[in-house]
Symmetry: C2
């Protein structure tokens, strides 16, 4: 039972031929049968001239539904060429939080003009005050409030009078005249209450909330921790100014995970996709690759100080990379664990020392095992026990260093207010590469006479 | 207004001292003031003998609430030493989906005994049939159904008779006698309907659902795409057997992101945390490090075939790592983008060729820029233009190779039914390292007489 359409290629093909015949009636019919989420996906797949023609044919509420579902960037692109009075009508019909995001992405002059053309700018204006990545930037103003003295029955009557469309349909928020948040009541509790009961008797007065200026990631963690479907947002005067809904939090968590994965892999633009434009690809990737080139050349310079060794014992050049690679890999494992634990709120400052000690121990064990296996293996392979000894010791040393760097780098970034995922492979492996070369070649110099005996 | 407690260290300290004095009354009082999510977090922070004592003092519904909130693994550990009749009572009180997870983690004999001791095993038994990572493994059986002929008013009466506790509080599912799913109605629509209206007139009959055997990740994507708060789950006979709620989907998305981040960093156990036990750390990390060691030694073997070069031109040993590092970094960027796009359902099979061509183009541009900068830089640094030429060309070649490998490896894994994140740095950079050494040293051999002119 596949009762949802995730834009089967057939639908797109059908649309293409309908567009060729300018058969807009049938195109609109196809769109109208779909869920807005699927409409948005289909719309995004069209060429931009097709999008423009389609927008001319659609009703304003239909366009608003599609714009609500598109990614922020996609909405801006679609809205780019619309006449401002038309755009103002669409924004009036959009969800306030999506409308605010779209307005926030327009140029300063267009924002003012569009707002002046809107019928109900008051729902959107308060949202423009908050930065995109804050709780205030994620919240909606489209929620319902009650007062303490209301009865359950009058609350239900009120609900019926407001109609069905609402961003936060299952919670009602209880406020006083100053708009301070006093309690919350779920629709289920309201329906099950005696009609005559007053709200103050049935509401939950211990409400979990966040401040509008708090990071959206903190809001997401609170909602996840308490399994909340809606999270009230307060301003500095503790007035209820908005509510974050469960689907916003999904978006936050997915966006933050993408950002972490990209940063760990040294991609700086987390909106980058495999088929993004060439320029965006270069912009998001070249800076890190350049940094990597510079640190790699620093490694070359370290090696160059041991240049005479290779003339005497060329075999050293075969194995220096093994030490660097193992250090880099060990450190990457540490960084991934720390970054993820921090993102999920599992590491607290007082745990840093125990975690560091544990990871040094882990590095010693891993280093001993890898050092023994590789050292003995290479000792036999090259029939040179001292080469094996030097390699094994260098692996042990570098893997302990890697454990320390890979653990401390993201923790230090976090507790100095930066993104721990910036401790990406480029930065951390630069250190482990250079220290790896240094340990291996220094040990080789110390043991050189012994290594040379076997060559 | 910090009206939620995320286990301030002070609370833990206070508890410690209360435990020392065996002051269970005050301990229980502290617990009872907290949200179950915080109770669970606090409980998890206790020593295991403290946990045991506390469980003896608590009421069964309190324990069930805490067990509902603990991670699956934590629940099993906490439940380990409980007498089975006591455990059966707790499981009776738990959410069916959490109860099924706990039962599924007990030993076979304990499962049978516990189930025979339970009062209401019928809510949990159907859930035991489905694997943990399927939609069926995530769903709950604790939902409410209506029939087509019911009136809005009788539906509300029914709702009031069932009380407040319910896993899926805001949706009612409409089924026929054969339990086929006919529609869904939100509590808001029900409240706003005329009391006399029949359900069949107000329900949404175009219901989005999934099959119980489908992967939980697919269910999560459907819920995210359509912003659903509850997703009905059908069996092979298309009967409604359960519902997935919004908080389950948060867990799925977070778990899947963690798994991807860990796999990309070559950590095979996605439950591993920085302070996990030494044995678990070694088990989750050593196999990948060993694989890395083997592939690195393969690289050493490739280099060893050019051993004579280093005796003649030691300077080559300084720069081979630069070529390998840039290739590895380029490939990691590609893998991260592809893995994330696949996880978010953004790449379709027919896009593979355009994406590959785009990425080859990107690799050529990145390689040309890095190759020029590093090649010219090193040419001047070493006063050896041909060394710079060889290095630049090797960088260009390896970065194109890296773009191809980094793009294709995760795509091939995905479309052969494996996890694309297995194309982790270890596997992909092994290839780019080896090919990098090969290109650089082969080119060096070709240009050797020219390079030697400048030494």
């Amino acid at each position: 039972m596949s009762n949802y359409d995730r834009n089967a290629p057939e639908t797109l093909k059908l649309l293409e031929s309908l567009f060729e015949n300018q058969d807009f009636e049938n195109i609109l019919e196809i769109f109208r049968e779909l869920h807005p989420a699927d409409q948005a996906k289909l719309f995004y797949g069209l060429k931009s001239d097709q999008q423009e023609v389609l927008l001319e044919q659609m009703e304003i509420p239909e366009i608003a539904d599609i714009f609500d579902e598109l990614d922020d960037k996609q909405t801006v692109i679609a809205a780019r060429n619309l006449p401002l009075p038309f755009l103002a009508d669409i924004i009036d019909d959009m969800d306030p939080d999506e409308a605010a995001d779209l307005l926030g992405d327009l140029s300063g002059q267009d924002v003012r003009k569009t707002i002046s053309l809107m019928e109900e700018p008051e729902e959107v204006l308060p949202l423009l005050r908050y930065a995109d990545e804050t709780a205030g930037g994620r919240m909606t103003t489209d929620f319902l409030t009650l007062e303490l003295e209301d009865s359950a029955d009058s609350a239900i009557q009120y609900l019926r009078s407001t109609g069905l469309e609402n961003d936060i349909p299952y919670y009602l928020f209880v406020v006083n005249k100053e708009k301070s948040l006093l309690g919350v009541i779920g629709l289920r509790e309201l329906v099950c209450a005696d009609p005559g009961q007053v709200i103050s008797d049935i509401m939950e007065s211990n409400v979990i909330s966040v401040q509008a200026m708090q990071d959206q990631e903190e809001a997401a963690q609170v909602m996840k921790h308490y399994d909340l479907q809606a999270l009230p947002v307060l301003n500095l005067q503790n007035q209820l100014v908005g509510v974050i809904s469960h689907d916003d939090i999904l978006d936050v968590l997915v966006d933050e995970s993408t950002e972490d994965i990209y940063r760990l892999a040294s991609v700086s633009d987390s909106a980058l996709e495999p088929d993004s434009r060439l320029f965006l690809q270069l912009k998001g990737r070249l800076p890190w690759l350049l940094l990597n080139a510079i640190t790699a050349l620093l490694g070359s310079w370290v090696i160059s100080n041991f240049g005479d060794l290779f003339v005497q014992v060329a075999v050293l050049a075969f194995f220096q990379s093994v030490v660097a690679a193992q250090g880099g890999n060990t450190a990457s494992q540490n960084v991934a664990m720390i970054v993820r634990s921090l993102a999920l709120g599992k590491v607290k400052p007082k745990q840093i020392i125990p975690i560091l000690l544990r990871q040094i121990l882990v590095g010693m064990f891993l280093g001993t095992m890898i050092g023994l296996i590789v050292g003995i293996g290479v000792g036999f392979w090259q029939a040179n026990p001292y080469l094996g000894l030097v390699l094994g010791l260098a692996l042990l040393g570098n893997m302990i260093v890697a454990s320390i760097v890979g653990t401390l780098a993201p923790l230090i970034l976090e507790f100095t207010g930066q993104d721990p995922a910036l401790a990406s492979s480029v930065l951390v492996t630069a250190i482990t590469d250079i220290i790896g070369f240094l340990i291996f070649l220094s040990l080789a110099r110390v043991f050189l006479p012994l290594i040379q005996q076997y060559i």
